[in-house]
């Protein structure tokens, strides 16, 4: 009887521990995938967004903002994104034909399934819906616009292999609202996701 009780407690404990996986935590893209090496090169196309009046159309702000991840080699490029080919490129001036209506920005990523289960990202490009209004850290004030710094920090999270988090306040939390600059920095949950991958 004592043995039965012991095993009942043991099994219950195992079940409780197994189910104690945090319901609120970061999510990696599935299947899990990452770039082969760090730092990860991400270029921002030099033609900026016409709604951003900081002098570079948000290009300089974006280049600076995405360094928040700590593993990004960030600079500008005069070459637009070539889908399917690295480096990862951020396009502020076009929706790429894929990000329209209610889409603010979209990341298009490409990878091969490997036999080892360690999948590699080969390319990821970010497109911006130019039908919406944006502002950057280089501007003062906001009136119904979306923060390009935060949007691009979030999108680069996808570029490096992170999905959406359920942790409110995390940069990879999926919701976004106008005039919210809270995504300019990465939070503990985002760092945990990054550190899981790299």
């Amino acid at each position: 009887m004592k043995k039965q009780t012991f095993f009942s407690v043991l099994i219950s404990t195992i079940i409780i521990v197994a189910s104690a996986e945090p319901a609120l935590a970061y999510v990696l893209l599935s299947p899990r995938r990452r770039w082969a090496t760090t730092p990860i090169t991400v270029r921002t196309y030099t033609v900026g967004n016409s709604t951003i009046t900081d002098g570079s159309g948000g290009v300089n702000a974006t280049v600076s903002a995405i360094r928040a991840w700590g593993i990004i080699n960030s600079s500008t490029t005069s070459s637009p994104a070539v889908r399917g080919s690295a480096p990862a490129t951020i396009m502020l001036n076009t929706n790429g034909g894929i990000c329209t209506s209610g889409c603010l920005a979209a990341t298009l990523t490409g990878y091969y399934i490997s036999q080892s289960g360690d999948d590699r990202i080969y390319d990821a490009d970010v497109y911006t819906n130019t039908a919406h209004q944006y502002y950057s850290s280089g501007e003062s004030g906001c009136s119904g616009e979306y923060d390009i710094n935060g949007i691009m920090v979030h999108e680069v999270g996808h570029v490096i292999g992170i999905g959406h988090s359920n942790v409110a306040g995390a940069t990879m939390y999926p919701s976004v609202s106008a005039c919210n600059a809270g995504n300019r920095t990465i939070e503990a949950d985002d760092r945990a996701a990054r550190d899981n991958l790299y």
């Binding site: 893209l29 599935s30 299947p31 399917g84 209506s101 209610g102 979209a106 091969y112």
Partner: protein, 195 residues
């Protein structure tokens, strides 16, 4: 009218209860999604295939839909083909993170509109334009938002929990139909418009 309001509130609760799960999207009011769509259909996904575009830059997945019902005042052919960004060709997979995925064998209700650059059809308003049809325990068909988007090959524990709850709380087909009719007729809803 009261019932329609409740239905809309239910729909908004369903949408707001789950992550927007997107690249980064702005949630559109239901009536806007309904009125902007060319077709609103109940269909089976009978086939899918993927191919590069002509410039070899984007992989698109094409899905053949066998349509069993058109909602609203506009009807169309029994078979439609939908084109969505993302897919796999020769082992290389391209995904638009958070965009809707469309899979063979699914029972769906879709809002469809044309691409900006062609008359090909796409799911309108991204994930807001796609519902899975599920059978409730009382054998009533209900609509639930698809919890698995591109970049999410499998469900997290929380998504599983949400999906199970959504099955119980989903809109019935007829409630949905009434809402589409009302939206396309220009009737104003009585619930909050924005998440």
């Amino acid at each position: 009218m009261h019932r329609r309001s409740l239905s809309l509130i239910t729909l908004l609760l369903i949408v707001s209860a789950m992550p927007l799960s997107a690249a980064q999207f702005i949630v559109q009011p239901f009536e806007r999604v309904a009125t902007e769509s060319k077709y609103v259909v109940r269909a089976s996904v009978v086939d899918t295939w993927s191919a590069w575009d002509a410039s070899q830059e984007v992989i698109y997945t094409y899905a053949t839909l066998r349509v069993s019902r058109y909602f609203g005042e506009v009807a169309g052919p029994d078979t439609l083909v939908v084109r969505e960004v993302g897919g796999t060709v020769d082992g290389y997979t391209q995904e638009a993170i958070g965009f809707p995925a469309i899979r063979r064998g699914e029972q769906v209700v879709l809002f469809l509109s044309e691409w900006d650059d062609s008359t090909d059809l796409r799911i309108h308003a991204y994930n807001q334009g796609k519902y899975l049809v599920r059978m409730r325990q009382d054998r009533t068909e209900v609509l639930v938002a698809d919890p698995v988007k591109q970049g999410e090959e499998r469900l997290s524990r929380e998504q599983h929990r949400f999906e199970a709850e959504a099955d119980d709380n989903g809109l019935t087909i007829e409630e949905f139909s009434e809402m589409v009719d009302a939206a396309r007729a220009g009737e104003k809803p009585h619930a909050a418009r924005r998440q």
